[in-house]
């Protein structure tokens, strides 16, 4: 047990840190630091820089374009990405579909899709959730009927993040009604440009617009777009949802956000002194930091066990659950810090257009402008991707045997 970096690890960290800080475009960094809305181009520009460097898919095997890093190196890389104010890398291709294709795809599927994911040529979105299904994923009703060498797909997907930017969607569809509801599900890749695919944005309570309904009406999908076997999609879905533990807790980003808390608390005042000097605010910061450190150490324990050969288990649920609790705890600290300046808001703020930038709108300081919106938006973290209630039930069942 050793928390110090080896000389090699130290050199790796310096290397990564140097590159990331030198190469992140300042306009993108600024948006990330202030919590402003990123558009497609921001993501793609940055991901291509990482792609050129060979660092875009640290979790992929080397043969498919991964850098071949150790778990510690990956951990350090995540840290440095967050510290450099990198946007979140869009996970749908890199952390979801990529590993699925590597595990279940045909040679043709791998050869075609994987390089395009690495190069950010295809933007993927995820077609799992349906209206009415909620956390009960397997009760999905979108239907794919085989018709010659095509499937005809009808149904509706919802809560589809950033579908407005997507070129492709990977979907769970029902191909059979026999047996248990988990048994008749297949995993299908659908080109968003296919006739019959419609995207309708869903406005969210923070004023943002990053989730969508996706309607599928008589969508004709070539049969070679099936991944794995027909009716075997549930296995793939489970693999996809539990495969990636790295970064699921969001520790690196939360550490960066705690810096933001400190920064803002240094600017905001309380009783004539900077808020950062208020003993009780510091106590609340300490409470969140304790949870964050505990989470980080727990992640390191799990990664060490994995590196030592243990198979990933249901402990990923702890990382997801506690991770979102910590993230949401930080949004609460930020909100508290800005006091009554939390009121001022105009959706234009998120678009980087407010008086600080020379436009009309609330005269609110830059550091306070997006905090309330961020707090509201981040409530989603404990709902999407397997709600925290689902994670609790997984732990109760798979770990405690209840």
């Amino acid at each position: 047990m050793d928390l110090n970096l080896t000389t090699e690890e130290q050199a790796f960290q310096d290397d990564v840190r140097g590159f990331l800080r030198a190469n992140i475009p300042p306009a993108i960094k600024r948006k990330v630091d202030l919590g402003l809305k990123l558009v497609k181009d921001d993501y793609v520009v940055w991901q291509r820089i990482l792609y050129e460097q060979g660092w875009i898919a640290p979790g992929w095997p080397k043969e498919y374009g991964g850098p071949g890093w150790s778990p510690v190196q990956r951990f350090l890389y995540e840290e440095e990405l967050a510290a450099a104010s990198s946007p979140r890398l869009i996970t749908f291709g890199l952390k979801m579909l990529g590993p699925v294709l590597i595990e279940f795809g045909t040679p043709e599927q791998k050869a075609h899709y994987l390089p395009r994911i690495l190069a950010s040529e295809d933007w993927w979105c995820q077609g799992f959730s349906e209206p009415g299904a909620g956390s009960d994923l397997a009760s999905l009703t979108t239907r794919a009927v085989r018709d010659g060498d095509h499937y005809i797909v009808n149904g509706q997907k919802t809560w589809t993040t950033l579908a407005q930017y997507a070129d492709w969607i990977f979907c769970l569809v029902r191909t059979s009604n026999e047996g248990k509801k988990q048994q008749g599900i297949s995993f299908l890749l659908i080109d968003m440009k296919t006739p019959g695919v419609t995207v309708r944005p869903i406005k969210t309570l923070d004023g943002g617009q990053e989730i969508n309904d996706v309607f599928l009406e008589n969508v004709k999908v070539p049969a070679e777009n099936l991944v794995g076997k027909e009716n075997d999609g549930w296995t793939i879905a489970k693999f996809l949802l539990s495969h990636e533990r790295f970064g699921i807790a969001g520790v690196a980003r939360s550490k960066k956000q705690m810096e933001r808390v400190r920064d803002i608390a240094g600017k905001e005042m309380k009783r004539g002194r900077p808020l950062i000097e208020d003993a009780r605010f510091r106590e609340r910061m300490a409470e969140v930091e304790i949870e964050l450190t505990a989470l980080e150490m727990t992640e390191l324990r799990l990664l060490s066990e994995e590196a030592a050969g243990r198979k990933p288990g249901p402990e990923a649920s702890i990382l997801k659950l506690k991770g979102t609790q910590v993230q949401q705890g930080i949004t609460e600290l930020l909100l508290e810090a800005v006091g009554n300046r939390a009121h001022a808001f105009d959706p234009g703020i998120l678009e980087d257009e407010w008086p600080g930038m020379g436009n009309d709108g609330p005269p609110v300081p830059e550091h306070a402008a997006t905090v309330a919106s961020h707090y509201f938006n981040w409530r989603k973290a404990s709902i999407y991707g397997g709600s925290n209630e689902i994670q609790r039930s997984i732990i109760a069942k798979a770990i405690l045997g209840l």
Binding site: G132, I202, M269, F281, L335, N340, H343, P365, K380
Partner: protein, 377 residues
């Protein structure tokens, strides 16, 4: 000692609940938000017709009397109704300051107009550095002949962009955080040198930052005594804190009701969500905290009309601190238990949640009131 509503109070409650159930709603609200100034002047006139704007104003001054409890009943209904009209700014803050601080002739002039819906008011007391402390005032008022000249900047004054007069705290003597030396001036919104930057707030209301650049006022603009503005401001803010706690209770009740309805209706894994015991118990916590908040809000309302200032102050802080804690719990739980639907702009839950959250950032958040209670203890 008794803790029941009078027949008149039950009448106020029933009328208000009926109004918001039948004549308001999310679509109406959206329309009102989009109007100039962010609220509906016809609706405001109806408020006046129903006597709501005359609540708390003595009968001989054009009001219909009644006390803070009556206003709390109305505010609770407004919480459930998600009203965007500026009742808080004009009637609660403005009305209280004029009732407590204005000269009789000015009261006789302004209060009937307020009750009739013809006068809008705002109270600009906070500053960029003040957080929730009323004594932290940098805006200065220099005596100039028989009047004063005001210079400074105020933040987040509710509805300041659409009012006729703005009550402003300014320092006439003393240092930045001294309790003494603060004076409240009632300034015309169109006074030369006064500029309001108006903006929407995240919970769907409006507020403004107020810049004062050599604004001249007469001596009769002073509310209360020169240098003696702090107790006046404190009483008004304590009253507002009690009343938004009642509004918060109304929001909590609406969130609990909607969440319970959602749990009953929505099926998952073949059963209604409401069958899951963990969710039942969480809904129960929401319900209980709503009731506890309501109890404290009404206690605080009663206390605001009593003679015991420390008791009034303590009750306001207890109610507001509870509203902050319970509001956070209930808002977060309502969104979480609604699942994906909870984060859309479509359903009322998100709007209740936002207003409830911002109430914690009005008139002192939970941390502020716990500080204050700890200081008092």
């Amino acid at each position: 000692m008794n803790f029941t509503f009078s027949d008149e109070q039950i009448l106020i409650r029933d009328m208000a609940e009926r109004f918001f159930r039948d004549d308001y709603g999310l679509d109406v609200r959206r329309k009102h938000q989009a109007l100039p100034g962010g609220f509906c002047r016809e609706t405001w006139a109806r408020f006046a017709d129903m006597g709501w704007l005359a609540l708390g104003i003595p009968e001989d001054l054009g009001g219909i009397g009644g006390g803070t409890v009556d206003m709390a009943i109305l505010m609770e209904a407004m919480g459930g109704g998600l009203a965007v009209e500026p009742f808080l700014a004009t009637v609660v803050l403005g009305g209280t300051l004029i009732r407590d601080g204005a000269r009789p002739d000015i009261q006789a002039d302004l209060l009937p107009r307020l009750a009739a819906g013809e006068l809008h008011l705002s109270f600009a007391y906070s500053e960029a550095q003040s957080r929730y402390d009323l004594n932290d005032v940098r805006t200065r008022a220099k005596a100039d002949g028989s009047g004063f000249v005001l210079d400074g900047a105020k933040t987040v004054a509710l509805h300041a962009g659409t009012v006729d007069k703005i009550a402003v705290t300014a320092r006439t003597s003393g240092g930045e955080r001294d309790d003494g030396g603060i004076t409240i001036f009632l300034v015309d919104a169109d006074a030369p040198g006064l500029t309001v930057t108006d903006y929407p707030t995240v919970d769907g209301l409006r507020a403004g930052d107020v810049a004062l650049d050599g604004v001249r006022v007469d001596a009769e603009a002073v509310l209360g005594a020169v240098d003696g503005g702090l107790p006046l401001a404190e009483a008004a803010i304590d009253r507002a804190a009690a009343l938004v706690s009642a509004e918060a209770a109304g929001l909590m009740a609406a969130l609990t009701r909607d969440t319970v309805a959602f749990l009953k209706e929505r099926k998952q894994f073949g059963r209604p969500l409401g069958d899951f015991q963990a969710l039942q118990h969480r809904a129960t916590e929401m319900y209980m905290d709503t009731e506890l908040t309501r109890s404290l809000a009404y206690m605080a309302a009663v206390r605001q009309d009593g003679d015991d200032r420390p008791a009034a102050r303590r009750a306001a802080s207890q109610a507001k601190a509870k509203a902050g804690q319970a509001g956070r719990l209930i808002g977060q739980e309502a969104v979480q238990l609604h699942g994906g639907m909870g984060v859309t702009d479509e359903m009322p839950v998100g709007h209740y949640f936002k207003r409830l959250t911002l109430i914690d950032h009005s008139f002192g958040d939970r941390a502020h009131h716990l500080d204050r209670l700890a200081d008092m203890a």
